[in-house]
């Protein structure tokens, strides 16, 4: 804590004769700008401006750019279509349609995983929300499109590719090298023979869960009763 300072006393209200002449002040100002000019000429690399697009800014490993969907060792997507990123997205730009994976160990997979890059605000909430280490971001920030359809990125453009990572590098992600986090173990690669009845059997044996209190319900559910107000 400290006091209050009056800054209007710092500069005299009236300018001196020399200052009112304007020329000396102009020269003083020129000395500042010329000093900047000489400093920049002497140290071209240290100049604050960047000659984009020939030179690109070096972003940190936390940069929030285009998303990628991570893959398992066998090339399938790590995503299990749990809808958590879709729910966490404040811009509502993620659309997921889930399907049953032939491999029981994988259970679900996204048949459709679309990100509308025109809606996306690049906040990184999807990365925070993912419990399966399936969605990361890259440092790719150059996504120009000619049509609205072009702006909707589907799985084929979101799937991680070594070329893309080599070019842009990883950006915002759930954990960083050296922070002690172990990624989730890959699901066991269990073979399932189609038509063997294994999946059907599992479903039959499942014990139904008891009813529970549904709680206050999600935001803006249509079931919310309007409070009656007497006139």
């Amino acid at each position: 804590m400290s006091g209050v300072i009056d800054v209007s006393g710092k500069y005299p209200e009236k300018l001196t004769f020399l200052q009112r002449l304007y020329i000396p002040e102009i020269l003083r100002g020129m000395s500042v700008t010329i000093r900047h000019l000489i400093r920049n000429l002497a140290n071209m690399k240290g100049m604050p401006t960047i000659l984009y697009p020939e030179v690109r800014r070096n972003y940190s490993g936390r940069f929030r750019g285009k998303h990628i969907l991570k893959t398992r060792e066998d090339g399938t997507l790590k995503c299990v279509a749990c809808y958590m990123c879709q729910q966490a997205c404040p811009a509502e730009c993620i659309t997921i349609v889930a399907g049953e994976h032939p491999k029981i160990a994988y259970e679900k997979y996204p048949v459709v995983f679309d990100i509308d890059m025109m809606r996306c605000v690049f906040c990184g909430f999807c990365v925070d929300a993912c419990p399966k280490d399936a969605i990361w971001m890259t440092r790719n920030y150059e996504m120009a499109f000619f049509t609205r359809e072009d702006a909707v990125y589907s799985i084929d453009r979101l799937r991680e590719s070594p070329e893309e990572i080599a070019k842009h590098g990883y950006g915002y992600r759930p954990y960083y090298p050296g922070d002690g986090t172990t990624p989730p173990a890959d699901a066991a690669l269990l073979p399932v023979v189609p038509g063997s009845g294994e999946r059907e059997q599992l479903r039959e044996n499942r014990v139904p869960l008891p009813d529970r209190d549904p709680g206050p319900g999600p935001l803006n559910a249509p079931s919310q009763a309007e409070r009656p107000f007497s006139a």
Partner: protein
């Protein structure tokens, strides 16, 4: 009002004192004091003006600074015992007693509830009442200019009412443009000459955003003006009601996008206070450091753009160099330059990088050097002095009456700074000064902002000294903060916490809270109402530049058009925050 009795049984000392004062007021017995986060007075619309006059004039109250007026629609509010559907909530501050108070005007159940305008008591209420009229359909008898303000004039319905379907769109055509009545009258004469009405904006280089000024000129002098805003309105508050508490954070970035960090900090502080959780020191100090850097950016942009408007281009480049360097720091911390989304309820999204302190120290060296250059270029320059000194004058009384806060108020000689008036986080531990100026003109505002940047650097320097080298930046309450990823991947219990938080949001206890911080432009307040669900039931922003812009049309009268341009620059109106 159901009970006309003043409840004094369980009140805090401040509320009890207020209740005693109300007892001796003309509305004694018809107003009730309840103790919430700040003392709250409940009153009916019939007694509102009498109470307002009393609150402003009574020596024991002296609520001279009108901060905010907003509506609340209780239609779908769970669990709250409310007698009526609509209420108007007013926030006031007393500069001499350094206290906030809230007034809740409980409105009768009516399709178009009405409460008398208090524009004559606090001129600052003008635009806030128009906003409540626009978004809630409240009628304010006695208001001089009751028109829509944020939504356009072809809009049907009142957007923030709970029964308004948010998906609706209303087409706006040229003929819907509302021209003020006085501007239509072309007969008005000034002496022997006729006056002329001109439009400045909406898209004008000097408005730095989309703001429309209609001015009547007598020669080069402005004799009357009216500002039309709302071109950047995107209904932040309705969006907040449709999202979880944490999901609002990216939306707050877009309020004052020049210092996005400050908005986020102000918002999450409100939620954290409602939850009653504590943030580790390291997290709080990182927030403070980055908020102060954001304040510097805010002032750099304001001064730089203002000087461009009056013809001094070089300063803009030097000031933006500061901003660029600060953006680099922010990007290294959170991965984005402008819309940072760095804070979370309960802490920060991620710990700062290892080289955070050296990076900050480097900035502490480069910023003052560039500020010195600006002062050499500007302070004694005759053109700058002629354009800024003596123009856009706001006296102390006017500044208070118009509800100005921040550098605007301090340049008029009032040393009100939230960081000092109600120190939050670590501000009471730092040694810094509040810069004030006496003149209240554009040059005074420029000087105050320049000095504030130096004071911010001083605060950052001290914060870096006490910043713990290691430690958590977020609370470990997993009902609020996402558990660490390692635990989510390998531990069922953590995964459940994670799932509940992402899918249902933070369960904030039912209640209401007004929290305010000092943002770049002044007092940034967030009034949040929770009814126990995962998202805000109602969230009102008290944007500091809303009051400043409301005062603009009064400030420019009597000056020239070129003075108006210089004045608009020193208001630092950010359209994202103004229009929300």
């Amino acid at each position: 009002m159901s009970s006309g009795v003043v409840e004094t049984a369980t009140l805090s000392p401040a509320a009890e004192k207020l209740a005693e004062r109300i007892e001796s007021s003309p509305v004694a017995g018809r107003a009730r004091v309840v103790d919430l986060d700040i003392p709250t007075i409940e009153v009916g619309p019939g007694n509102w003006v009498a109470l307002a006059r009393f609150l402003r004039d009574d020596p024991g109250c002296q609520y001279d600074l009108f901060l905010d007026l907003c509506g609340v629609d209780n239609l779908r509010r769970r669990g709250a015992d409310r007698a009526s559907r609509f209420e108007a909530v007013i926030h006031l501050h007393s500069l001499s007693r350094n206290e906030h108070a809230r007034v809740r005007v409980v409105l009768p159940d009516d399709e178009k509830p009405s409460l008398p305008s208090v524009e004559s008591v606090w001129p600052a209420a003008d635009w806030f009442e128009r906003e409540a009229y626009d978004l809630y359909g409240f009628d304010f008898p006695g208001h001089p200019n009751l028109h829509r303000i944020l939504c356009h004039d072809a809009f049907v319905g009142h957007a923030l009412r709970k029964d308004y379907a948010p998906g609706q769109r209303w087409f706006y055509a040229e003929e819907d443009l509302r021209v003020p009545e006085w501007a239509k009258d072309t007969e008005e004469k000034a002496g022997n000459f006729e006056t002329q009405t001109i439009s400045i904006g909406p898209s004008h280089p000097a408005t730095h955003g989309i703001i429309h000024l209609i001015a009547r000129l007598d020669g080069e002098k402005i004799v009357r003006a009216e500002t039309i805003i709302g071109y950047l309105h995107r209904c932040f508050e309705k969006m907040a009601e449709k999202h979880h508490w944490n999901q609002v954070i990216p939306y707050t970035d877009r309020l004052n996008y020049v210092s996005a960090m400050n908005n986020g900090v102000g918002y999450v502080r409100t939620v954290e206070k409602m939850l009653g959780i504590e943030i580790p020191d390291r997290g709080q100090l990182v927030r403070t450091i980055l908020s102060e850097f954001s304040r510097i950016m805010d002032h750099c942009v304001c001064i730089g753009a203002n000087l461009v408007d009056i013809g001094a281009l070089t300063n803009f480049v030097y000031l933006y160099q500061n901003r660029e360097n600060i953006y680099d720091l922010l990007e290294a911390c959170c991965g984005a330059r402008l819309t940072v989304s760095y804070v979370r309820v309960g802490g920060l999204a991620i710990d700062v990088p290892d080289d955070f302190v050296p990076r900050c120290r480097k900035l502490l060296e480069t910023i003052p050097a560039l500020l010195d250059d600006i002062e050499k270029l500007v302070n004694n320059n005759r053109i700058v002095r002629n354009r800024l000194a003596g123009t856009g004058i706001v006296t102390r009384e006017q500044a208070v009456a118009w509800g100005l806060t921040g550098p605007m108020l301090r340049a008029s000689g009032v040393a009100y700074d939230v960081r000092r008036a109600r120190p939050y986080d670590f501000y009471d531990k730092f040694d810094w000064d509040i810069p004030i100026a006496r003149d209240g003109d554009n040059f005074a505002r420029y000087l105050v902002r320049m000095e504030e940047m130096r004071q911010s650097l001083k605060i950052i320097r001290q914060a870096l000294e006490i910043l713990p080298a290691k430690g958590p930046v977020s609370s470990d309450d997993w009902h609020v903060v996402l558990p660490p990823k390692d635990a989510v991947y390998h531990d069922m219990e953590s995964l459940i916490y994670h799932f509940k938080l992402v899918m249902e949001g933070i369960r904030v206890p039912a209640g209401e809270r007004y929290e305010w911080i000092e943002a770049g432009n002044g007092e940034l307040g967030f009034y949040a109402v929770s009814d126990g669900r995962g998202g805000p039931y109602r969230l009102k922003v008290r944007p500091p530049c809303f009051a400043a812009m409301a005062a603009f049309e009064k400030m420019v009268v009597g000056g020239t058009v070129s003075d108006a341009v210089a004045t608009l620059g020193t208001l630092n109106v950010i359209a994202g925050e103004l229009d929300r």
